[in-house]
Amino acid sequence: MRIRLILTGILAVLLTTPLFAEKVNYALGFYAGYAPSLGGNLHSSVQKNDFQSENGLDGMNRSQEGYSTSRINRLMGVAGGAEFKVLFYDYYQLRIAGNYVMAVYGGSGKTVYDDSGTTRELTCSYKFSQWDVPVTMGLSIPFWKDFKIAFGCGVAYANAVYQNKFSSDTVERKGSFKGWGLPLVILLEGEYFFNDQFAVSSILSYYKGSSQVVKDGTTSDGSTDFARIDFTGYRFHLGVSYYFYSI
């Protein structure tokens, strides 16, 4: 319902923009970048109840003499997307984008845990992927015809899949969580213009929010896990923009 309202609002704005005549410009952009610490600490109830970690992946990072362990790094994601911007009266910007981010580094390693008094090695694996549609409104400040700095804030519809797997000699636990949320979004964007219509851009965005607690969708391991999918984090992108009319 909430998404329908947002989409209807955006559509209404886009449809009425021709009424502003030459006071409106449009831009289309594409970008790619990365997202450090994707998914946060990836905590789930199995990690606390079965493997003695109260803070997810961070707490699973352990070492002990006599055991072969390796560091489990937080996930780093590669991100990409497209944006559509509507600029009103040169300074006001409405931006809608579509992003996809997927973990490509980190999230695997070996640790130890306590199995009813016996210390055992445990292989851990985490995966995370997300798509989201952020809608932001803000100011776009032109500096002559050289570049623009834009600042905006808004909200995103974010949908993610988080999977984890823990296996030792005696136990195997698998978790799969699908969830959505409406994280808040802050955006800082700089565009350097080659001419009146083409620009290269750098985009820094911050998401703050998470899903509801989600129940594990994997039942084959005989256990039920719960997790909250965390969308909070920074993303940095480099990209290109094309303005429909001369800036």
Binding site: Y34, R71, Y192
Partner: protein
Amino acid sequence: MSRIILTTMILWACFSGFLYADDILGIGVHLGGQHDVGKLSDQESGMQTDPQNNLLAGISLKANMSFVFLRTGIDTTFLLNKGKVYEDSSQIKTSKLEYTAIPGFLGLRFPVKDMGEFYMGGGAAYFLGSGQIVMADGTKEEINTTALGYGFITGIEFTLVSSMKIYMEWEYIDARSGAVMKTQTTYGWKNLHIDYTGHRILFGVMYYLI
């Protein structure tokens, strides 16, 4: 892969000077700070802490080419106040963490005529950390760690006089070490990792050599 990147950087540094007359290569010194070094409150759920704060001093090297910049340097930190844990249940009482970081960022710059510029980029930093953790029973543990982290930088430069600029930067790096020491009594394993993640604000002066 690293050879290709290094060769490209050397070629760029060698030939960029022939293409552009000024603001090509700058060297700067800066001071700054970081709040909540080590993020002790994240080590245990709900742990109440007095966060550690560090002063930061460093040297920066910035190479500009048209709308692209490359920024590296070296930063080192000095303790401003120790981190303290107020929970009786915690085995950690205080932390004193310091580090030297070598960052590298690549991004876009937006020159504002001859007044200065705004810049924004992404990159990584390598941390060499050391410090001391004091436990509840009074024992002191010396730690040495390394970590690689990823993040971004955004900054502004303002021209003071020709070739001399003041700058302010906001840096964020997400970096954690592996487990370095044991801060619980129940199990035999080391569980404490050192968290270098955080925001850094820097103020400095940059001199452009060419």
